[in-house]
């Protein structure tokens, strides 16, 4: 059985100063790694950002305290720790814009709410138009987004180059800059801090975070999921939620149903650290490459999905090569940099590039997945709507459109034309 968690220290400038003077001896653990109880009101499978946020909102918003997060590895060790930390809400369809903009608004207040610095830097994201056709499709997208209330601007070549002056400005280069679609409230955050901040806040509210606990099957009684079988025993629950991204189809198979998902590798890489030189997030709509600079000074680089379906969590060299060759065409001075690390995560691509949220064909089991290449930006909103679903059994108003039933009714929310995937 688990003991009462120790009272957590409040993080502040004052606590930093005090601990600095006391030799850092007064800090208490941010959260406790628990052993599972026999039963909970709600089990959330998956200790990534979405799972931890869901558990936090279940406790905070809905007052449900007997909540467990089951993580087969360590929290934040999957896609939450592997993404390129981009946050934005410039989505084409109104249902998507509403969901992702809720996420941006929650991110804006998250450091204060969690008392944990997630380092959200609203440095603007810009998608570069390379051709007249790019500019025209961006104008259409910008108008759609503005109708949905998203702060999006189409800027000309001069302003785009002023925002990222290291881009190749010559008119006859491989990827000429014709203009850009800019969301100034977009930016980056510290991905690990989002996982750890939600974990700490959830733990404070009594949520059990259980690592090294892999779900291997569902307990089914009278056609309803009433618990999970794990490597650490059977755990029963009133409702079960799964937020396991690229492994969603594996869990679905254990539950006896299929999902409209295909798992692919999405890779990312970082350069050696350098002086501040890139103050926004730059994305190329035509070729998928994108780059930002972390607070440590490393360039954080990503691109399109690998081509072959995969669960391997490692990227192919062909995609690394195409991303980097594009990047150095756009930023010639980056060609001299050394690459420090390259890695991959398994993302769950849905047919319309929109998430799947809702009940599953197995009663008692609920779903939050299909975020594909862009799940990190959606963590606070995904947690909010999934907690609502698990607490009430009914959709949050913002998640109803993302129900699995849309593949039968045909009411898809197609975000595949958005060009930029992250």
């Amino acid at each position: 059985m688990s003991a009462t968690p120790p009272r957590k220290s409040h993080y502040s400038a004052w606590s930093l100063l005090r601990e600095g003077l006391r030799g850092q001896r007064g800090w208490t653990p941010a959260w406790t790694d628990r052993d599972p109880d026999p039963a909970y009101d709600v089990i959330v499978i998956g200790g990534g950002g979405h799972g931890l946020a869901t558990a936090y909102y279940l406790a905070r918003t809905h007052g449900i305290r007997r909540v467990a997060v089951l993580e087969k590895g360590w929290i934040g060790g999957g896609n939450t720790g592997r993404n390129t930390t981009i946050i934005r809400s410039n989505y084409f369809n109104p249902q998507s814009a509403a969901l992702y903009d809720l996420s941006v608004r929650l991110y804006e207040g998250l450091s204060r709410e969690l008392n944990y610095n997630i380092m959200f830097s609203q440095r603007a994201i810009m998608e570069i138009a390379h051709t007249d056709a790019d500019l025209e499709s961006m104008a259409r997208a910008a108008n759609a987004m503005r109708i949905s209330g998203i702060d999006i601007e189409l800027v000309d070549r001069r302003e785009a180059l002023a925002m990222a002056p290291l881009m190749d400005a010559s008119p006859d280069c491989r990827w000429p800059v014709r203009g850009a679609l800019v969301q100034r409230r977009g930016g980056t955050a510290r991905h690990d801090a989002v996982a750890w901040g939600y974990a700490r806040a959830a733990d404070t509210l009594g949520v059990h975070i259980i690592q090294g606990c892999e779900v291997q099957g569902f307990e089914i009684e009278a056609g309803r999921a009433v618990g999970v079988r794990t490597n650490r025993g059977t755990i029963r629950a009133g409702r079960i939620g799964m937020a396991v991204a690229g492994n969603s189809s594996v869990l679905a198979e254990l539950g006896g149903f299929r999902l409209p998902l295909q798992s692919y590798t999405l890779q990312a890489m970082v350069s050696e650290p350098l002086e501040p030189c890139l103050h926004t997030v730059v994305m190329s709509t035509s070729n998928g490459a994108y780059v930002s600079q972390s607070d440590k000074g490393e360039l954080v680089i990503g691109g399109n999905l690998d081509r072959n379906p995969s669960y391997a969590q490692r990227g192919s060299f062909a995609v690394t090569q195409s991303v980097l060759s594009t990047l150095v065409e756009m930023f010639p001075s980056f060609a001299t940099l050394k690459l420090m690390r390259q890695w991959g995560g398994t993302v769950d691509a849905s047919p319309d590039n929109s998430p799947l949220i809702g009940p599953t064909p197995l009663p008692g089991l609920f779903l939050n997945c299909g975020w594909g290449t862009g799940g990190f930006k959606a963590i606070p909103a995904g947690g909010t709507v999934f907690a609502h679903l698990l607490a009430t059994g009914n959709h949050h108003p913002l998640s109803a459109a993302f129900d699995l039933s849309r593949f039968t009714t045909g009411a898809l929310i197609d975000e595949s034309h958005a060009g930029v995937q992250h």
Binding site: V250, P260, L261, S263, P309, Y311
Partner: protein, 84 residues
């Protein structure tokens, strides 16, 4: 790059092939329900581990083939002409 053995062309780079989904799916009857059609159209096994897949040798012979492949290790176990 990975090498895929095409049953018609021999060993070719994987970039020449295009993924075409589960090889085991059966097209439902013309008068099927919307739900049956959705299952066929959008839902898939997406297996972790050994998977039987359809691939098009798009930049090669242009023929559809079946590849038995491990999606966790990327090992190609067998390839044969599309069997249907």
């Amino acid at each position: 790059m990975q090498v895929f053995p095409c049953p018609f062309c021999g060993e070719r780079p994987d970039a020449e092939f295009r993924y075409g989904g589960d090889a085991r799916k059966a097209r439902p009857a013309r008068d099927c329900s919307d739900a049956e059609w959705a299952q066929y159209m959008h839902f898939r096994a997406n297996t972790r581990g050994e998977s039987l897949e359809l691939w098009l040798h798009a930049a090669g012979c242009g023929r559809w083939i079946e590849i038995r492949r491990d999606t966790a290790s990327h090992v190609v176990i067998a390839t044969e002409p599309m069997n249907r």
